[in-house]
């Protein structure tokens, strides 16, 4: 009961945020270009331009257009993505969303699996060579130009291996459509589809191979963030009195670290993981572009360069929604990890 109230309250608090995002993107997009320009060329007669403007409500003053946009938004009409052959934005999102989420999930998985142990090791071996190495490794992740990293990965694991005739990782797209010409998306999550609907382990492996480089590339930043947060919160927790108490009980160092310290150190790390999920969306724009990944990131970058207003608006709205949701989830997880938090 209390939990439901908490979620409800958080949702209501999110409304102004989402609204702010809408206002800012819409007015920015308004500056980016004339939406009518997409429908016309130099041969279009003046009268046709007029009617196009009227049909799309473009002859109204901006605030009226904005209100029009909002009403459409609520009716499920997010506009047409002019850079994606005029398909409805929601449809394009539904198509591309699984690709990006699959990538982001895998990147996140990889970042958590590696980041938390690395952070713990670094903290427990503070100021040793291991610690220095881990810190440089994780700081390199924060300072890594993703687009460059992606290119370099591609150069080594795809191009170089390929010209040497060795087995190599694929450098673009989600699966090899020459090898699997009959494949049809069901849910859009390839790892899932290939096993559950297609019963095709080879497709699964192929999809995994295609995911490997982009996921690593995208996950590295998050990995770095998690490692650093884990290290510093672990260092802080290890100095707490309750760690001394745990030691005085005769618990072995392993239990002290992995039970008593870890549980407390995870609390701030979880927050960072949630926030980093939003960051993955930004990273996706760069990574997907380099790996020709047919996801939201590529779409968004192209939309902005092509002044595809509906797509820009749709993408930012979607990311803002993801951000708000992941924050909510973080708060819920937080509550289960830290008994001091009550949804009061």
């Amino acid at each position: 009961m209390k939990l439901r109230d908490f979620i409800l309250r958080r949702m209501i608090l999110a409304i102004p945020v989402i609204f702010g995002v809408l206002v800012i993107t819409w007015f920015l997009a308004f500056q980016v270009g004339d939406p009518a320009a997409m429908y016309i060329n130099e041969n279009t007669p003046q009268s046709a331009i007029e009617s196009i403007r009227k049909a799309h409500g473009l002859d109204e003053p901006p605030h009226i257009q904005f209100i029009l946009y909002l009403t459409n938004l609520f009716q499920g009409n997010w506009g047409e993505s002019t850079s994606t052959s005029f398909r409805p934005v929601l449809e394009v999102i539904a198509l591309k969303f699984p690709a990006t989420i699959e990538l982001a999930m895998l990147a996140m998985f990889f970042a958590i699996i590696l980041g938390i142990p690395l952070g713990i090791i670094s903290a427990t071996k503070k100021d040793t060579v291991v610690d220095h190495f881990t810190r440089v490794f994780s700081l390199a992740g924060v300072s890594m130009p993703i687009f460059w990293f992606a290119l370099m990965l591609k150069y080594v694991f795809y191009y170089q291996l390929a010209i040497m005739g060795l087995p190599h990782l694929p450098g673009s797209f989600r699966y090899d459509d020459l090898m699997f010409p009959d494949f049809k998306y069901t849910t859009g999550f390839l790892l899932f589809d290939s096993i559950v609907f297609e019963h095709n382990p080879r497709l699964f492996l192929d999809a995994l191979a295609h995911l490997a480089m982009p996921a690593f590339c995208l996950g590295y930043l998050t990995l770095a963030i998690i490692t650093r947060m884990m290290r510093s919160s672990m260092l802080e927790v290890m100095r707490e009195d309750y760690i001394t108490l745990a030691r005085s009980k005769g618990l072995s160092e392993r239990v002290v670290i992995y039970k008593h310290a870890l549980r407390n150190a995870l609390i701030p790390t979880v927050t960072v993981i949630g926030l980093a999920f939003g960051g993955l969306m930004t990273g996706a724009v760069l990574t997907e572009t380099i790996f020709s990944w047919p996801g939201l990131g590529t779409w968004a970058a192209r939309a902005i360069l092509n002044s595809d207003l509906a797509a820009i608006n749709g993408f930012t709205l979607l990311v803002a929604l993801i951000f708000v949701t992941s924050n909510l989830i973080v708060d819920l997880v937080y509550g289960t990890l830290d008994p001091r938090i009550r949804y009061g």
Partner: protein, 384 residues
């Protein structure tokens, strides 16, 4: 000192340093302690004189940059089967053997109940954890089962199959001498049950609900009781209370101290109470050790100390305690201040503040010697 077999703990020449940026803090230099079986010893001294460091050194819990440099910490326990006394030097043990001593044989209760329990685990789990660690739960599992059956038997209305239950109960009781090995789940349950028993022992109100609560849901006094329960959970031979009552208000403090003395009788532990409150010492301890700047300066029975302090520092310390029936304008103070432990005074560490200091005090460190029967003092000129 009578028979060394009576001594459950003996500390000789304990030396602990902290290697900090400003220099080496020589926190302990020649601490000597004797604790008799069943005694309550008070460890007193000004703030910063090294009481807590001593306690941590005994459990080898000194954390970097600190290090126990030298000394001998003899811990004697009676083998329950043979009745023999065997002594171990804690400083010579390896880390694995040390884990058995910590919590199992020597337990410690720390000063601040608000920061010591782990905030994310339930009180019951934190107590059960130490029980599971140090005890094989055979007896407890059995006792728990017997206890349960007895409860069922005493129910009102009585259960239908009384005879069956009684038979079962008899069977269980007959196994008391040699209980079977329980499974993990039963162990955990029994540990939890023991945790409740422990909470009852420390007079925790409504122990059944407290086991499932988190530390932040308890008051300071309740938390301190929980910490004591945690420390006593494995019937340790020695319980060290590092200012366990300082953070509590006076009435709760008195309750906890009474509790400790009762528990001592019930469980048969020896207790070290660290405090700077002479009143607490007078009320609860039968033996005292006085520390000054990292050394033991005097140790003897409590009554003896109050009646006949032999060390100039103890004398000053006792004068500083206000007495009810004596009206004074101002409390006398020991002139000067606690020395800097990075560059401690040469010879006797007390000599810059001592009225009786002579040349030898500046150059030579006095040894702790038995000046009168059962009364040890470290001073070149004891106040006999």
């Amino acid at each position: 000192m009578a028979d060394t077999k009576d001594l459950v703990l003996e500390v000789h020449g304990l030396k602990t340093n902290f290697y900090t940026y400003e220099g080496v803090v020589k926190a302990l230099d020649g601490v000597e302690l004797f604790l008799r079986r069943g005694d309550t010893m008070g460890l007193v001294g000004e703030t910063g004189c090294g009481k807590s460091v001593t306690a941590r050194s005994i459990l080898r819990l000194v954390e970097p940059p600190g290090r126990v440099e030298e000394g001998e910490i003899l811990f004697r326990e009676i083998d329950p089967k043979t009745g023999e006394v065997n002594a171990v030097d804690i400083l010579q043990l390896d880390e694995d053997e040390m884990l058995h001593i910590r919590g199992g044989k020597i337990a410690i209760v720390f000063q601040d109940p608000s920061t010591f329990p782990n905030p994310v685990f339930r009180i019951g789990d934190q107590i059960a954890e130490v029980i599971l660690l140090h005890q094989d739960m055979k007896h407890d599992v059995l006792e728990m089962k017997i206890n349960k059956l007895e409860r069922i038997l005493n129910m009102n209305p009585p259960p239908v199959n009384v005879s069956e239950i009684v038979a079962h109960l008899e069977q269980l009781r007959s196994m008391r001498g040699n209980p079977p090995e329980p499974d993990e789940k039963a162990k955990k349950k029994a540990a939890k049950w023991r945790a409740i028993e422990m909470l009852k022992l420390v007079r925790m109100p409504s122990p059944e609900s407290v086991v499932n609560q988190y530390p932040h849901e308890l008051s300071g006094g309740m938390r301190q009781r929980a910490l004591i329960a945690m420390a006593l959970a494995c019937n340790p031979s020695i319980l060290i209370c590092d200012e366990a009552t300082t953070a509590l208000d006076v009435t709760v403090q008195a309750q906890v101290l009474n509790l400790l003395n009762q528990l001592k009788k019930e469980i048969g532990t020896s207790i070290i109470i660290i405090t700077h409150d002479m009143g607490v010492v007078a009320e609860t301890c039968n033996w005292v050790a006085v520390m000054y700047a990292g050394t033991t300066v005097e140790t003897c029975a409590t009554d003896e100390l109050f009646a006949n302090p032999l060390h100039p520092y103890t004398e000053g310390l006792l004068h500083a305690v206000p007495k009810l029936h004596e009206e004074r304008e101002r409390l006398p103070q020991i002139p000067g201040s606690v020395p800097n432990l990075i560059h401690p005074p040469s010879g006797c560490r007390f000599h810059p503040r001592c009225d009786f200091a002579t040349e030898i005090c500046k150059t030579e460190k006095p040894k702790l010697e038995e000046v009168q029967p059962d009364h040890w003092v470290a001073c070149h000129h004891p106040r006999i």
